[in-house]
Symmetry: none
DNA sequence: GATGAATGAGCTTTCATTCAT
DNA sequence: CATGAATGAAAGCTCATTCAT
């Protein structure tokens, strides 16, 4: 592993894996991923020790990508509601614009192949959000519950929102508003 | 009429499949499922034409099982809040008491192998709930959103609640209350 | 085996086997043959000990059927040419009218599953022909070669003739004449 | 360019398939063929997409082999009888010296698994013979019949001849002469 | 005797992984 | 390092045969 020669190939493999996992879940074959990336079957294994390592890396890669969309412009100084709204809306638009990535995360997440450590590391990039939520709980703006619990609820409502916006494009804005309404009310006392 | 198909064997196969899918997702092998059910490998295929058919049947079987837990005692005459609470609490306790079943549903749901038709048929048993929610939307008790959207949000929050109650058994009652609070607020205006 | 209760069932099985073997060769499954005969899978095995026994019986049954078409009206008193012509023409018309039977014989014959003893017993019904040919060899009308050799040549030419008449129905009569011409010349000095 | 596909392995697979098909027909298992070729089970499928493709390739390979024996030394300038005799004798000696190959062709031919296109491509190598026979028909040396019909008759008589020479080695030369006599007379007016 | 569920060996094919080139 | 042929352990599924009903 260490220092692979070509970041392009690594990225091509991750991109191909994203599509393959979105389509077929963890059943996607390493051969098809390599083909999708335009590299030889064996090459995959010089970048990722085995299929499981590839999947953990893929999950982290996708979460990183999500983080890079959500976090820039994060309104550190606004009130809690605006900060949650920022996160919610960015999450939703990332999901709408990156269907394969969102599906791949969801497939990995529900496959039983994702290690707890990986899931935990995937959260790291969102610490600013966690901290904000802690403060908000302290100050009584959010309901007094574990952060992870609140975070999970927001995430699930956001996922549901994405699915609805996706399948009912005409009502997209309405569903976005409904989704955020639900999320905000769900986590406030 | 020779030996009739045995409901016990069918159930044993579904039970074994539940466990196997909970453990390994759709990667669970038919051989391991048959072994788990105590029947020969070939026998699985006299009860289910192929693996895919088995999975669709398993999903429906589990949803049926869930329905049989949730629906009895449904307080048709109570106010909306109590009815939603009934559903929520029953759903959560079923999930807590049937970890493998809940996991199996979730694995199937996220696998990409579940047909839309199967998902739709799985909802049939819960029509009383849908109808109640329609009325509640009409009367302004629930927020004006598609029933399926509201239903999905409740389901997701319930799932999250189950996961938390499961991993923090000490705080179970508190999380149950928090979960219902979140769900109720999420779907009300 | 011995005395099966129902000759109808036995015949239905042989008829279904004929069709199945014509279609798929010896790969035809016993289940499909039973289905074709309208009996249960297990019933096949009360009439025929196993698949191999069925195939030997099928071959004999078909040869018997062929014999019953060819031999009646055999012109014991005509000259050799007319007797051979009788055989040839009857063989060809049987083949044309019983495509599945002919194909089944050919599939069995070429499958490597047919026992030599079965092949030999299949010849028994045609002893009058063999004897006639012996006489004809004695009297110098036919070329001095083993009867079986001459018989095989006639058979092969007849098969070829059938195939041609079958695929070129317009020229049927011409091919029949050509076929007999070839056969008669082939076996005469 | 990694390890290139090895013609030796391909040939070993075809040789093993020849033997296996000669012994068991199309029922021969891919596992036994791979074992016979001294390669892993999976390797067969890097050389032949699936069993059917293997069988079509095998047929063509064997016909090619036959063509390479028959055609060299073909007396383009001799009279028609000598040319037919060349073909007949070469065909027969190839068959005698390559029992497994001949049997394999015959098993494939009668199995119902051989595609028409494959059968047609198998004839390509013998175009010189077809053309010669066309000329001979034109010039009245051969009986006025479709070339394929005449060709089939020769082939069938040659096959019969081979079988007899094989089972009666003492009379081999006599049967060869008888066989050619029969064939030549069969196709001439 | 007839039925068809039950069996498990066996089949073809796939696939993660290795390693010769 | 990149390649893709080679590997062989599964995988899903079929099927001849048995036997409880």
């Amino acid at each position: 592993m260490a220092r692979p020669l070509s970041p392009e190939k690594r990225n091509a493999l991750l991109a191909a894996a994203t599509q393959a996992v979105a389509d077929l879940g963890v059943q996607a074959s390493t051969a098809s991923i390599a083909r999708g990336a335009g590299v030889a079957e064996g090459t995959l294994f010089t970048y990722f020790e085995n299929k499981d390592v590839l999947f953990q890396a893929l999950y982290l890669h996708l979460k990183e990508d999500l983080g890079e969309t959500i976090m820039p412009g994060y309104p550190y100084e606004s009130d809690f509601r605006h900060r949650v709204e920022h996160i919610f809306q960015r999450y939703v638009s990332w999901g709408l614009e990156n269907k394969a990535k969102r599906l791949a995360i969801s497939r990995l997440s529900g496959s039983g192949q994702l290690q707890d450590a990986t899931r935990a590391r995937g959260m790291e990039r969102f610490q600013a959000v966690s901290r904000m939520m802690e403060d908000a709980v302290q100050s009584g703006v959010l309901v007094n519950a574990p952060i992870a619990f609140l975070y999970a609820i927001i995430e699930r409502i956001a996922d549901t929102t994405i699915e609805y916006m996706d399948s009912h494009p005409g009502d997209a804005q309405r569903h976005l508003a409904l989704g955020f309404h639900a999320a905000w009310r769900a986590i406030t006392p």
